[in-house]
Subunit: 204 residues, 2 copies
DNA sequence: GCGGAATTTGAAGGTTCATTCAGAAAATGG
DNA sequence: CCATTTTCTGAATGAACCTTCAAATTCCGC
C-alpha cells in the first residue's frame, strides 16, 4: 500500500470534512474517528487536538473550492464566457454538495470562532478579486460597460453566490443550480451591460 | 411580581435565544439553564425536551425579525423610501446584532435540521414577497421601471441582505451597515431605474 | 522474514450531558 | 392562614465525551 505520512493525513482531513458536513462545525472527535474507521486515540496520534485538525480540514476545503473555480475558467478566452462559467462554478451543483454544506456550517459558526471568521472573510475577498479581474479585463476590451466599479459588482456577485448556496443547502423548492445561476446572471447583465448569453453545454 | 405562565415561557425563550447566539444551534440544555439562571430540570418542567424549546425560540426570532421589518416601513408612502428603509432594516446594525447572529447559526445548521431549513426557506420567501409588493406598487405608479420581474429582483435583494449579514457577522473589515446598504442599493438602482436617493436621517 | 519505527487499539480517568423524579420551596386562592 | 397547585432544586442514572498511555499491531527497509 505504501501509505505515506502525507496520504494518511489527507485521509484524516477528508474524514474530518465529512464529519463537519454531517455534524456541523462543532463536530466531536468521536464522529471524526468513526468517519475514518479509527478510534479517537488514533486521530490524536496525528494531530495534537481536535481543533487543529478541524481548522486544517476546513481550510483545505476553502483552498479546493477556490482552486476548482480558477480551474473552471482556464482555457476560456472571452470575459463573458469567463463570467458565466465562474458564476456557475460558485454555486453548489445540487442540495447535497458537500463543500458548500461545509462552508455554510462554517459561516454559521463564524461569529463564535474568530479563526473561521477570518478564513471566510479572506475567501470572500479572494473571490471578489477573482471577479474584479474578469470585469476589468472585459471593461478594458470594451466587452463590458460596467455600471459600477468592479469591486462593487464583484462583491455583489459573490454575495449572491453565497446566499443562493445557503438557499440550496436548505433545499428551497424552486431555487436550483439553473435558477440561481440565472438570478445572478440577471444582475451581472445589468451591471456589465452585456447579454451574457449562456452557451448550451456541449455534450462530450 | 405576578409572573404569568406566558411571561415565564418568554423568559425561557429569551434565554434559549441568547444561548444559541453564544453556543450555536447545537446549544446544550445546561447553557440555556445557565442563561436563565435556573437548573436544567427547571427548563424541562416547562418544555418536554430541549429541541422543542429551541425550535420555538428560534421561530420567535424569525417572527420578530420580520415584524420589525414590516414596522420599519409603516407610515412611509413613496415606494422609493420604502425600498431604501427596507434594505437597511434587513441588515444587522453592526457585527454584534444578536438576531442576525442567530439566523446565521440556523443557516449553518439548516442542512442538518430539516425543521430549520423549512423555517428559513419560509422566511426567505416571505421577505421576497415583501419586496415584490414594494416593487410592484412602485412600478404601477410609474416610479420604478423594473428591469426584471419583481420576483427576480426581490430574490436578489433578500439574497444580498442575507449574504452581507453573514459577512458582517464574520466582522469583515470594510463591510459595515452603511457599506452593505449602499452595495445593495446599487443593485436596486439598476433593477428599478430609480436613483433611490438616501434621505439623511432626520434627528429626532 | 527480522527488527525497529510507525500506527492503532483499548482501557482508564475525569468531565459533562439529558433526562427523570422525589421532595422542597414558592405562589395562589379561598 | 391553611390547603392546593405551581415551580424549582438537587440528586441519581446512564451514557458520551476528550485525553493520556501502555501494550498490541502493522508497516517497511533491509
Amino acid at each position: 500500500m505504501a501509505n505515506g505520512r502525507q496520504q494518511r493525513r489527507e485521509r484524516l482531513l477528508a474524514a474530518a470534512q465529512r464529519a463537519v458536513v454531517m455534524h456541523g462545525a462543532d463536530v466531536r472527535l468521536k464522529d471524526i474517528a468513526d468517519m475514518a474507521g479509527l478510534t479517537s486515540g488514533a486521530i490524536l496520534y496525528h494531530f495534537p487536538d481536535v481543533q487543529t485538525l478541524l481548522v486544517e480540514a476546513n481550510r483545505a476545503v476553502m483552498e479546493r473550492f477556490l482552486d476548482n473555480r480558477v480551474r473552471a475558467v482556464q482555457g476560456l478566452s472571452s470575459p463573458a464566457e469567463k463570467l458565466v462559467v465562474t458564476v456557475a462554478s460558485g454555486l453548489p451543483r445540487d442540495s447535497d454538495d458537500d463543500d458548500v454544506k461545509l462552508l455554510c456550517a462554517l459561516g454559521g459558526a463564524a461569529s463564535r470562532y474568530p479563526v473561521y471568521a477570518a478564513m471566510l472573510t479572506a475567501l470572500y475577498d479572494r473571490q471578489v478579486a477573482m471577479y474584479q479581474i474578469i470585469l476589468e479585463s472585459g471593461a478594458a476590451s470594451g466587452t463590458f460597460t460596467l455600471q459600477h466599479d468592479s469591486q462593487t459588482i464583484g462583491r455583489n456577485i459573490v454575495a449572491l453566490e453565497d446566499a443562493y448556496g445557503y438557499r440550496m443547502a436548505a433545499r428551497h423548492a424552486t431555487i436550483d443550480h439553473a435558477v440561481a445561476t440565472e438570478l445572478i446572471l440577471d444582475y451581472a447583465r445589468l451591471a456589465t451591460s452585456h447579454p451574457l448569453d449562456v452557451p448550451a453545454t456541449v455534450p462530450a
